[in-house]
Structure formats: structure tokens, C-alpha cells
Amino acid sequence: MDSHTETPELQEQFETPAQQKEISTLGMWIFLVTEIMFFGGLFLAYAIYRREFAGVFGLASNTLDVVIGAVNTAVLLCSSYTMVLAVRAAQIGSRKALIVFLILTILLGGVFLGVKAYEWNQKFEEHHVPGPTFHLEGTTQQGPAQLFFSLYFTMTGLHALHMVVGEGLMLFLLWSAYKGKYSPTYYTPVDVGGLYWHFVDIVWIFLFPLLYLIARHQH
């Protein structure tokens, strides 16, 4: 009795579908650990400079729209909710529900990115993009002020890049789901894609308070 003939998605090097699923999710978790360390370098830079330039960082942070930031956070959390429901749909074999939830996840991710683009554009118009035209009102420490925004753009930019990759992954999952490739015995890519999506959400869970909520009590 050969598992490989019964389940063609089972790759050569694995004995059973269960082993393939467990190993694939373990592989994704290890990849996410590398992502923790990758973003970690930026969080280190942030920690060092916020500690040193607390006042200017607070001033700079206050120019970010906290309502938009909070709403965007909620949008991303919604997308994680729809994502986990998509995985659940795959687990119980509801192809239609899986497709609907994947579409919702993609749309919500798109909203997040759209809002981000709007925010970045705001910063550009307010001359808060580091460079020759940069100026932050209310401080003589223009250098450290630029540092805040350098970190803001690098961190949210890297996050957005991961979101874009995530959207691509979701589109691939959607297409495969549409083609009927997933079932309760084989939905590993959905599971693994979900892990990636939730991780990118977790990064934002930290970015929001660290970037938007410095010294908000001064108003």
C-alpha cells in the first residue's frame, strides 16, 4: 500500500501526508524565526535611538495620525481573522468558504497597503521624508528627527514589502483553491500561508505602538 499513489501531492521524501504537513509547518516556523531576527536588527536600531533621542522621537511620532494607524491595525487584525477562518474552511473541506475567506483576506490586506500608501504620501507632503527637503517643526535636532522617520519608513517599508509578498502568496492559494487542490487531507499550503500572514500581522502589532504611540499623552 503506497501512500504516494493514493495522494499524488505527497512528495517522494515523505512517508505519509501527516508527516509532510507536520514537517512543512515546522519548516515555516523556522523560517519565521529567521524573520524575527531579520526585523530584530531594525528593532535594535529603534531601541537605541529612541532611548537617546526620546524627546525628538516623541515630537516626530506625534505627526503620525494615530486614528489612521489604529484603524489600519484593526484592518490587519481583521485580515488575520479571515485568514484563520480560511484555514478552518480548508480543514473541514468547505471549498466555497475557503475561497470567500481568502478573497476577504486579500482585500483587507489591500486596504492596509492602500492606507499605508496614503500615510506615506502625507509624510511626503509634510516634508517629513528624510532628505534635502526634510523639516520637522518644533525642534533644532533635525538630524535625530530624520532618524525617526528613517526608521519609520524602513520598518513600515520592510513590513509593507512582506505584505506584498503575502498578497502574492494569498493569490496563489486562491487560485489553487479555485482549482480544487485542497481538501481536509491536504491543505498544507493554506496552513503554511496562514502562518506567514499571521507573522506579518504580529510585526505590525509591535510597529503600531512603537511608532505611533510615543508621547501621546502630551496632548
Partner: protein, 542 residues
Amino acid sequence: MITEAVAEREHYLNASYGIKSWLLTKDHKRIALLYLHTITFFFFLGGIFATLIRLELLTPKGTLVSADTYSKLFTLHGVIMIFFFLIPSIPATLGNFFLPMMIGAKDLAFPRINLLSWYLLVIGGCFAMYAMLAGGVDTGWTFYVPYSSNYSNTYVIATGLGIFIAGFSSILTGLNFIVTVHRMRAPGMTWFRLPLFVWSNYATALIQVLGTPVIAITLVLLICERTLHIGIFDPSRGGDPVLFQHLFWFYSHPAVYIMVLPALGVISELVSVFSKKPVFGYKVVAFSSVAIAVLGFLVWGHHMFVSGQSVYAGLVFSFLSYFVAIPSAIKVFNWTATLHGGSISYATPMLYAFGFIGLFTVGGLTGLFVACLGVDVHVHDTYFVVAHFHYIMVGGTIMAYLGGLHYWWPKMSGRMYPEGWAKLSALVIYLGFNLTFFPQFILGYLGMPRRYWNYPDEFQVLHVMSTAGASVLAVGYLMPLIYFMWSLRYGPIAGPNPWGATGLEWRTTSPPPAHNFEETPIVTTEAYDYAALAAMEETKVG
């Protein structure tokens, strides 16, 4: 008894033909050979830069090249040797080939990702070669800011991108190995029956996964700093150049353990098989590999004693650096105990193992010199440090790599290399190595700085000795290149177990079948159980 000739039997090399069967292979053994070609190319390329460096240093004043060009020579030597040769070397060739076989698996957990890893190394290498050919890079392999971010007019970004991409090759290999060792061991292959080579590669994989992403983000930040002037390392903006060094060395110190841990694993195998004894203190040696991996992450500041880092941090890093020497020393003691009372064979792999033990010990002991904050203040950035790390990397890792290559060559190719020539080149390499690098300890201690293209006249004698040694070393390295290739056509045909070694890879044919084992092995013996092996051979013959 082997009655089938190599040519008639199907194995991984002749199972399929054509370039697509190699470039699109999922077989870990073929991928290992792809890597072998790639890293051999980079080794000799890095060697060319080393040759030019040593030629320039024959005379106290500049002779061959300008100072700027000299900076490019040592930078490219370092970048190529570290990122494109040493880091992949043993794991990607010997590890890829033998780790699945040693645990009784058909392949790694993710064969397509394994192939992707190779392509990433090649693509990264292309970026680095482009940088080299377009004009080079002169920042030193350490890329310190603000020179690399603000002042260097060379191809920093292209080189940085090449290293970034090659870094993902390393990460994916590490990920693959971790999952494979955890989840794909054959029945009966418990953790403490694994060959120590597997333990070493596993520990190395941990470092690859945890450390490499940090240099990845460091290079991203460097590129952003250089192109967009984000200010993160720029004091005029409030940035701190020392932050770059923290981020850089957080990876680059553990990276040296990526480079040496697999070598330590090879030596454990060689010492055991060529004294026909199990490795003394197996569990301790196994745990010491993991200990090196973990402790190696806590000591990076010892590269930064004179950088402007706080004295308190320097004290902490210096203190912790002494601890990481302990597991390495434990291995050396355990190998010595293994040799004691063993039936020693002086085959070529064992010669390399002996060379390794002596040279690695010198390298390790001099590591204690530089771990001492007070001493390092004087020898930092001198040839003392250069000698220290070459004793480990060349006297250590490359010796182990060559030893492993000779040991496993019959298994990989089905042919034996010529023993006489091999012994001779091992000797040439050993002598050439010591003549090259021992004078550098003295040079450094006397004050010769590293990365300098000219020097006071009184250092010339030592430099000439070093260059003489380098030319001997070069000959020594070319010899295996020639005779290994020769052996592929003219070498005697090798049987499944020419060395009488334990280990599952020796239970299949040489070369192995495409799927490694005719049926999944069931493991019932401990590692290095030579008695059981002898008993098994007896029942086969009888």
C-alpha cells in the same frame, strides 16, 4: 562480494543524463556535487587574491599594485573566501551528500529548497563577481561605516547584494538540515546513535538560521545608508557607527563557528575510523557542538574592544569569550583519548586529522590571547589576529574539508584517489601552511598592522618567509585538484566500505543508488560500533 562493475550498475551519477537532470535535480547528492564545483571555483579565485597579496608584501614598499588596489585585494580575498567558500564548504558539499544517508533518509526534508539554495549561492556569487570585475570593493570584508557608507567609491552595493543573496542560501540549508535531523531519521536512529558529523552540522544549522538574518538586515541598512543617506550610522545625524559593528558582528562571530563546527564533525569521524575506536565521550562531544553554537552568540563584542564600545560591555564580552573555548577544548581532549589505545592508520584523511588537531589547537589558544581585553588592545588589527584566524580557518577548516573529501571520495565517486600523491600533498600543505602563517604571529606581535600595503624594512624577512610558505601552500592545494580529477577516470574502483567504517553511508554501494538505500535501514547499533560491524561482516562472508 561485489561482482557488478561500477559502469553496469545504476547509481546516482548515471541514473539520468543531460544538463537538465543536473540543473533541475532534487537529489541531495547531485546538489552536493553542484556545490562542490562552485565552491572549488571560489576557493581558487580567493586564492588568486591571496597570491597577489603575498606577492605585494614581499617588499616593504609598494611594488605590484597601488594602495587602493591592495585594499581591494584583501577585501575580495576575505569576501570570497568567507561567504562563497568557507561558509558553504563542508555543510553544502559533505553535509548535503551524507547527512541524509547518515540518518537513513531518502533525501533532505525539502529537496527543491536545497536546489534553490545552490542557485542562490551562484546568483550571489555572480553579483560579487560583477563587483570584482567592474572595479572591486575596498572596504575590507567587514564593511565598517562610515567608510563603506559615505566615502568608498567602489562597488559596495553590488558586493553587499551578493552576500545578502548568498546569505539566504545559507539560511535555507540550515533550515533544511534542522527539519531533516529532527523528523527524518530512520527507525532506531535515535539522537545518541547519530554520527557526530550529523550533530556538528545540526549545530551549524542552528547558527545559520539564527545569525544570518542579522547580517542580511545589516547589509540592507548599509545599502540604504549609502544610497538614501538615512542617517542610521551617521554621527552628523545622530547615528552611531558602532551600531553597524554590533549588527555586523552579531552574525559574523557565530559565522566563524559556521565555518569551523562542521570541520570539527569531520575530525570526529576521521579520528574514530582511523583508530578503529568509538569516539571517547560521545555524548559530551555531541553536546559540545550545541554549546559552541549557543555560546558563540554571546561573544561578538570581542571584535569591538577598541571601537568605542563601553568598557563595561567589553569586560562582559571578554569574560564570556573564555567560555566558548571550553567546548572546543573538550573536543580536542576527547579526540586524544580516542586515539589512545587505538589501532592507528596513517591514511591520508588521518594525516589531515592530525594536522587539524595541532593547528586548530594553536588557533584556539591564540584565540584566548585575543579574548583578553588587555592583550587585544595591542594586537587588534595586527597580523597576530590574521594568523590566529588563518590557523583556525585554513589550518583547521580547510584541512578538515580536505580530510573529509579524501575520506568520502570513494563513496561519492566509486574511485580511490592515489594514496602516495595524496600523502605527499598533505605534507606539502602542512609545511606550506606553517611557513606562511607562523611568521605572521611574530609579525603581529611586533606591531605589523593588517591591511597595510607597506611596512618598515625590519619586517621584510618574516614577510618573505610567509610568501615563500604561501607558494608552497598553493602547490599543495593544486595537487588534489589534479589527482582527484585523474582518479575519476583512472583511479582504482572502490568497494562499499574501503575504510571499514561504521555509519549507514558505508552500507550502500559506491557510488550510492539514487534513492540512497534499497530499503529503509533499521538501526540497532550505537554509533562507532566496530565490534558490531565486524560481526556483521563475518555473517555476510560465512
